[in-house]
């Protein structure tokens, strides 16, 4: 069977983008909120 | 009659009376069924075999679309006429309200489904009489599930501003098993096969109905608070 490494990498790439994206979203949101807390 | 049952009955009776006097919802829903018929025909084209092959699915598509309109309005009458506090302040077990509203919805759906069956029979030259008793059983099980979910989600959606958007978004994913089971069982029945052939699906529908009813009864009071 042909080796479909392209598909394997595509799947992992999608997962990485989604999960890393959420990671950054959370980090950014937390930073904004703690910044706000500190400013009070 | 116990107070609980009487409360449920009062809700049902009040809704039936209101509907009988104004006739607004039921007329519109039945007319909607007629419109659906034309839409289905135009969407599927003149090939009658195609319509007949898709018949179980089309029937339930019609029921669900009518349900989206009709069930979503379950609590609108209280919202629009400022009677909501009356519901919230009802003493005792509020799930009586849920059952009363559910009964009303089942009645409305029954009328709409009967109308749709008649319209299909007339416009597509179909004969349901042979399968009618079995069809009634399938329709009852499916409608019960659809209405149990619709009444609960209707109560939530009624209290949210974007209710026309929220109601389908909540109802449609939840109603998938009811749809799958009802369409399969309907197909079995319309093909003239004995009801026993559809037994697994009927059991699934019955189990689903039970679960939805129990969750609805247990959680309704949390939906209905101030």
């Amino acid at each position: 069977m042909r080796d479909n490494w392209g598909y394997v990498f595509a799947a992992y790439a999608v997962a990485a983008v989604v999960l890393a994206g959420y990671w950054r979203h959370l980090a950014r949101r937390a930073k904004v909120l703690t910044g706000r807390e500190g400013a009070r | 009659m116990s107070t609980y049952a009487r409360r449920a009955w009062m809700i049902l009776w009040k809704d039936v009376l209101t509907e009988r006097r104004s006739k607004e919802s039921l007329n519109a829903l039945v007319f909607f069924s007629l419109l659906l018929l034309f839409i289905f025909q135009f969407a599927l084209g003149p090939d009658r075999a195609r319509v007949e092959a898709a018949l179980p699915g089309l029937l339930w598509l019609g029921f669900i679309l009518a349900g989206l309109l009709g069930l979503g309005r379950t609590f609108l009458i209280e919202r629009e006429n400022e009677c909501w506090e009356g519901l919230v302040l009802t003493p005792g077990d509020k799930s009586a309200i849920y059952l009363g509203k559910l009964a009303g919805n089942v009645l409305v759906m029954a009328v709409v489904e009967a109308a749709l069956l008649v319209l299909f029979a007339v416009f597509f030259g179909l004969d349901f009489t042979a399968a009618l008793p079995q069809l009634a059983i399938v329709l009852t099980l499916g409608t019960l599930g659809l209405s149990a979910l619709g009444t609960l989600f209707g109560a939530i959606a009624a209290q949210v501003r974007a209710r026309e958007l929220l109601f389908p978004v909540l109802l449609l994913p939840a109603v998938v098993p009811v749809l799958l089971g009802s369409v399969s069982a309907t197909q079995t029945v319309l093909l003239g096969q004995p009801l026993g052939e559809a037994a697994p699906w009927l059991k699934l529908l019955a189990a689903a109905d039970l679960i939805y009813l129990v969750v609805g009864i247990l959680t309704f009071e949390f939906v209905l608070e101030g």
Partner: protein, 216 residues
């Protein structure tokens, strides 16, 4: 903070898992290397189920106690849960293309997972539409409980429906019976995903607490 520790642990585990999936695990005999997607797909769906279990716990907890911590738990589990479900579906679909020739085949497990996805996206949409915290928590809890109760029903209905319309061909994306390196790679990735979820969960709760400090 516990969240940071979890975060670092997760990263280490994920790197290990990736190595295990792409290098350590053997090339599968029947499907070839495309089977390696399973080391992503299976842990993702297991993590999704963990997430939705927590949504139910949080939902019931809130309805019984009215303490906001339970609602934060439900929200913090639902958000990443939806993401892991999405990853499950997309990875399953990408696996399907070279295997079955199409991007989507209404395979029973993929379809059930898709319905689960729709239910919990609806859950998050509902949350977005209600501003008052107590109402939001109550309505979300009811929808969350119903969604969870529906899971087995959806599972069976889709499975039987599928059996009607298609003879069971290849089973859904499953690893072939358990050569040890395959199990090891699966396990490592599963642990890694669970750690990642735990980090998301902890972080999301922290954010929720910051957003509503008066809620207690």
């Amino acid at each position: 903070m516990a969240a940071r520790a979890l975060g670092w642990l997760a990263i280490v585990a994920l790197v290990g898992g990736l190595g295990a999936a792409l290098g350590y695990a053997p090339r599968e005999a029947v499907q070839g290397n495309v089977q390696r997607i399973m080391y992503l797909h299976v842990p993702a769906v297991l993590t999704a189920y963990l997430a939705f279990g927590l949504v139910v716990v949080g939902s019931v907890g809130y309805l019984l106690t009215r303490r906001p911590g339970w609602d934060r738990m439900a929200l913090a589990a639902a958000e990443p849960g939806v993401l892991f479900t999405g990853v499950t579906i997309v990875s399953g679909s990408i696996w399907g293309k070279p295997t079955w020739g199409t991007w989507w085949t209404w395979d029973a497990r993929l379809t059930s997972t898709a319905v689960l996805f729709l239910v919990y996206v609806g859950y998050l949409l509902l949350r977005g539409m209600v501003e008052e915290p107590d109402r939001r928590a109550r309505y979300a809890a009811v929808v969350g409980i119903l969604g969870a109760a529906n899971i087995p029903i959806v599972h069976f209905s889709v499975k039987w429906w599928r059996a009607l319309h298609q003879p069971s061909s290849i089973l859904g994306p499953e690893p072939s019976p358990v050569a040890a390196p395959i199990m090891v790679a699966l396990l490592v990735n599963w642990v890694a995903f669970t750690l990642l979820f735990a980090y998301f969960f902890a972080k999301r709760i922290e954010i929720a607490r910051l957003e509503e400090p008066h809620a207690g």
